[in-house]
Symmetry: C2
Subunit: 142 residues, 2 copies
DNA sequence: CTTGCATAAGCGCATATGCACGCTTTAGAC
DNA sequence: GTCTAAAGCGTGCATATGCGCTTATGCAAG
């Protein structure tokens, strides 16, 4: 009987945080040769897709906090992978990928594919797809 | 046709990181009145369960990096919620919960329950349990 | 006893995360 | 035209995350 007071084992938040740490490390190790973290790779890819875009809009599209995004861009801008120019609006700043950024994506993409395939091989491709779907629903739900 | 170069939408790592951010914010908002983050609450609960334990062993049990754990303990130690004493070994340090720590857990537990119930209400209790199982498998897999 | 290896922990560095607050600029009300 | 509300960003603070390096200790082989 004696239910433990707060079974952290049952905490959905704890569970997803643990998983995120593990998977992040897995992908990061694969992407390391390209000098990118997974988060950075996904930002570059996102920027390539969403073209010139304002910071807040980009953060929203990536389901990130605005200020987190603002700061996360710094290292990428410093390394010349993206540039921040004036937006159409005096208060808006426009993010756009540079040529170096595009090259870096091309360099990292095969590494990402290996990571993605490796995860699916271990976890099961179908299960992984289901997990991804479930996680997408989390973002829409919360 | 034209498969996008690296569909970040399909990246399992990105998906789980997004989800973790959202869920963390959700739980953190609920726990805020107790002056605890979700991660801190889970560490306190884990420590209560695993009794006096060394840092590395505790980090391992929580699926955290050793150095991350070491630093994450600082604020809790500063606030007197846990204490770090000498271990059985000259190089080991023993973590143990204080009375204040136990009181804080008692204070935070109802808030955690509301967060947990709230998440299950939105996401679906069964789906949430399935997600948690899938995530636990991620930790074992990677 | 020493030498060498393994274990436990800390620290520097860099990035990730988000809240509260403040500043500038724009759009709309009047 | 002015005044106000809202939008877009930046900064300070605090915590979270993990890698590489270093130090201190324990343990076993010789």
């Amino acid at each position: 009987m004696a239910d433990p007071p707060s079974p952290a084992v049952l905490c959905h938040c704890n569970a997803i945080r643990r998983g995120a740490r593990q998977v992040t490390q897995f992908y990061d190790r694969h992407l390391a040769p390209a000098g990118l973290r997974t988060s950075q790779y996904s930002m570059l890819v996102g920027l390539a897709r969403l073209g010139p875009i304002a910071i807040a809009a980009f953060a929203d599209a990536m389901a990130m906090d605005r200020t987190t995004m603002g700061r996360a861009l710094k290292p990428l801008e410093r390394d010349g992978l993206l540039a921040v120019g004036p937006g159409p609006d005096g208060r808006t700043r426009a993010l756009h990928l540079t040529e170096a950024g595009r090259r870096r994506i091309a360099e990292a993409e095969p590494l990402w594919r290996v990571a993605q395939a490796g995860f699916e091989a271990r976890y099961g491709a179908t299960a992984a797809a289901d997990l991804r779907t479930a996680l997408a629903r989390v973002v829409r739900t919360v």
